[in-house]
Amino acid sequence: MFITRILHNDRGGQIMLAVLAVVLVLVPVLNLLVPEGNFLHMPTYLVTLLGKYLTYALLAIAVDLVWGYLGILSLGHGAFFALGGYAMGMYLMRQIGDRGVYGNPNLPDFMVFLNWKEMPWFWQGFDMFWFAMLMVLLVPGVLAFVFGWLAFRSRVTGVYLSIITQALTYALLLAFFRNEMGFGGNNGLTDFKDILGFSLQSDNTRMTLFVLSGLALAGGYLLCRFIINSKLGRIVVAIRDAESRTRFVGYRVEHYKVWVFMVSAMLAGVAGALYVPQVGIINPGEFSPLNSIEIVIWVAIGGRATLYGAVIGAILVNYAKTVFTGLMPESWIFMLGALFVLVTLYLPQGLAGLVQNLKDSRWFHKRVQA
C-alpha cells in the first residue's frame, strides 16, 4: 500500500507513527469516556497541552526538511508558523461577531478601540473558514517563495542566509507590534469564542483540535517522507552535499530550494493554524527570533535529517520546558542553551543518532559473540 511503501526502511517513522496512533485513540478515551474523578481520567487542559506539542512537532518536521535534508539552516521558521497562526486568528476574531466587549458586529474590538470605521482590505474574506484556511497555506507559501527566490537566486548560503532569515522574522515582529498594521498590535488576537460554530471551551472541540493536530503531524510526516524518498529527495540531499556539482549535472538548484522551502513554510503555517485555537491567542511574540532558534534546537536535540528525530526533540524539549518553567521560570533559557551545547558536543546526531548507535553496537556485539 501507499503508506507502507513510504515507510519502507523507516523504522523510526514506523514506531513514531504507531505511538502517535495509540495516543490519538487513548487520549480521547481517557478524557471523554473515563469519568471525571476516576484516577485514569485525563483532564482537558492536558489534552490541549499535548495538542500544542503536536503542532510544535509538525513545525519541527518542517524545519528538519529544509535544514536536515536541504542544508538550509533557517532561523526564521517561527515567522511562517506565526503567519499561519495569524490567518487562523483572523478567522477566529471574525467568529466572535457581536460578542466582543464593544458589541460591534462588524469590527473586532481592537479596531473599535483604534477608532477605525471599517475593516481594512486585508481582513476581507476571513469570515469564511475556507478562505482563512487557504491563507494559512498561501501567506507563508508566498512569503517563502518571494524570500527564497531573492535569496537563493543571488546564491546567498550558509551563515548569511541564516542571518537574513533571522532578520525576516525580526522585521515581522516589529511590524506586527505596530497597531497601525491592523493585527491587534502588542496584544495580538485573542478572546476567541468558537470555531465553525463550536465553542472553543468545550471538551469536544478541544479533543477534535487535538486529534486534528495529530493527523496533521502524521500527514506532514508522510508528505515529507514521500518527498525525501523520491528522486527529488535525492536531488535535495545532493544539493546539501555538493551544491555546485548538482548544477553541473543540470539541476536548477534555485528551483529546488525554493520549492522545498515553500513546502516547509506551508507545513509551518498549518502547525501555527492548529496551535492558535488551542492556546487561544496569537501575538507578535511568536515572531521573536528566539522562537525560531528554539525550533532549530529541538531538531538538533532530536537528531536532524531523520524527521522522526525532530518529532521526538520537539516533544521532549517542550515537555521539559513546561516542567522547568513551572519550577524555575528564569532558568529555562540557560538550560536550553546548555542542553544544546551538550548535544552538539556529545550527540552530533541527536537522540535519533544515539538510538542508532546503541542498536549498531548491540548488533556488533552479537556478531562478535557468534
Binding site: L232, R234, A242, R247, F248, G250
Partner: protein
C-alpha cells in the same frame, strides 16, 4: 542574472554543429585580482574530435573549463557551443542540459548517495522539480545504469556509498556520471590522476571509443597517457595557446620545450 532571462534555451536539443566546429572560444580574457589567468585565448574544437590539452600548472586549463561550463564569467571574449548556443548567457544547469558534461579535476561525487544513485542523478532527461517528484527509473534507464557500472567496473559497488570509494574509483564514478549524462561535448579534467597503470589503459580505451560520436576535451599532465590517446594536442601557457599539433610536433616545438624545461 542570466538565470531567468534564458530559461527558454534550456532544452536546447542537438547543438547546431552544421559547421565542423562544435566549440568556439574566441579572444577570452579572465583575470583574478589583476592576475591574467586567461589571456586572449582562442580555441576551436571540432565535432567528434578528441583533443588533449596540456600545459604547466597554472596555465589556465581548469579556468578554461570553468568558462565553458558557466562557473566563471570571462571579462571579454566569446564562447559558443555550435552555431546557436551562446555559452556566456547560460547558467551552469542550462549549459549542462545543452549537452556539455564535465569531470572535475578533484573528483566530486555525491558522497552520501550510493554509486547507482550517483548515476541516476547524473542521467540525462527531464530535470525539473515536479518531474523529479514523480520520477521512477524506467527499464531503459536501469539498463543504462547497469551497463555503465559494467563499463566503469563498479558493478559490485552498486549500493555502496560513493564517499566510501577509493580515489581511483571516484574518478571512475565521475566518468560514469559523465557517460549517463550523454553529452555532445565532454570536458575531462585530469582523468587518470590516482589511477594504476592498468586503469589508465582502460580510461584511454574508453575515451578513444567515445570520440567520433562525441567531442572530447581531455586535460592531462601524464604525457604517456596523452601520447596514447591524442590526435591533436594544444599547449596552454599563461592563459593562451602556445602551440597546437600532433604530439610529436608539439614536443619538438622550441617554445614548448622552453616552457616545460624552464620551470
Amino acid at each position: 542574472m542570466s538565470e531567468g532571462a534564458h530559461l527558454r534555451h534550456t532544452e536546447a536539443g542537438q547543438p547546431d554543429a552544421s559547421h565542423t566546429a562544435i566549440l568556439y572560444l574566441e579572444d577570452l580574457n579572465v583575470s583574478f585580482d589583476g592576475f591574467k589567468a586567461i589571456n586572449n585565448l582562442t580555441l576551436y574544437i571540432d565535432k567528434g574530435e578528441l583533443r588533449c590539452i596540456i600545459g604547466p600548472n597554472g596555465a589556465g586549463k581548469t579556468t578554461m573549463m570553468d568558462i565553458i561550463t558557466g562557473k566563471t564569467r570571462p571579462d571579454s571574449g566569446q564562447a559558443w557551443f555550435g552555431q546557436t548556443v551562446d555559452l556566456l548567457k547560460l547558467s551552469e544547469p542550462e549549459i549542462a542540459n545543452a549537452g556539455i558534461g564535465r569531470k572535475f579535476q578533484k573528483p566530486t561525487v555525491f558522497e552520501s548517495h550510493s554509486v547507482a544513485e550517483n548515476l541516476e542523478l547524473a542521467m540525462h532527461g527531464n530535470k525539473s522539480v515536479w518531474y523529479s517528484l514523480r520520477a521512477r527509473l524506467s527499464g531503459e534507464q536501469q539498463a543504462l545504469i547497469d551497463e555503465t557500472l559494467q563499463t566503469i567496473g563498479l558493478t559490485d559497488h552498486y549500493h555502496q556509498a560513493a564517499g566510501a570509494l577509493s580515489h581511483g574509483q571516484k574518478q571512475w564514478l565521475e566518468i560514469g556520471m559523465l557517460l549517463v549524462q550523454k553529452p555532445y561535448l565532454l570536458l575531462v579534467d585530469e582523468p587518470v590522476a590516482g589511477m594504476t597503470h592498468q586503469e589508465m589503459e582502460r580510461t584511454a580505451e574508453l575515451l578513444t571509443s567515445l570520440a567520433g560520436k562525441h567531442s572530447v576535451v581531455v586535460v592531462e599532465h601524464d604525457m604517456d597517457f596523452v601520447r596514447s590517446i591524442a590526435h591533436q594536442v594544444t599547449v596552454l601557457h599563461q592563459g593562451s595557446v602556445l602551440a597546437e599539433g600532433t604530439m610529436d610536433e608539439v614536443q619538438n616545438d622550441q617554445r614548448v620545450i622552453e616552457v616545460y624545461l624552464g620551470e
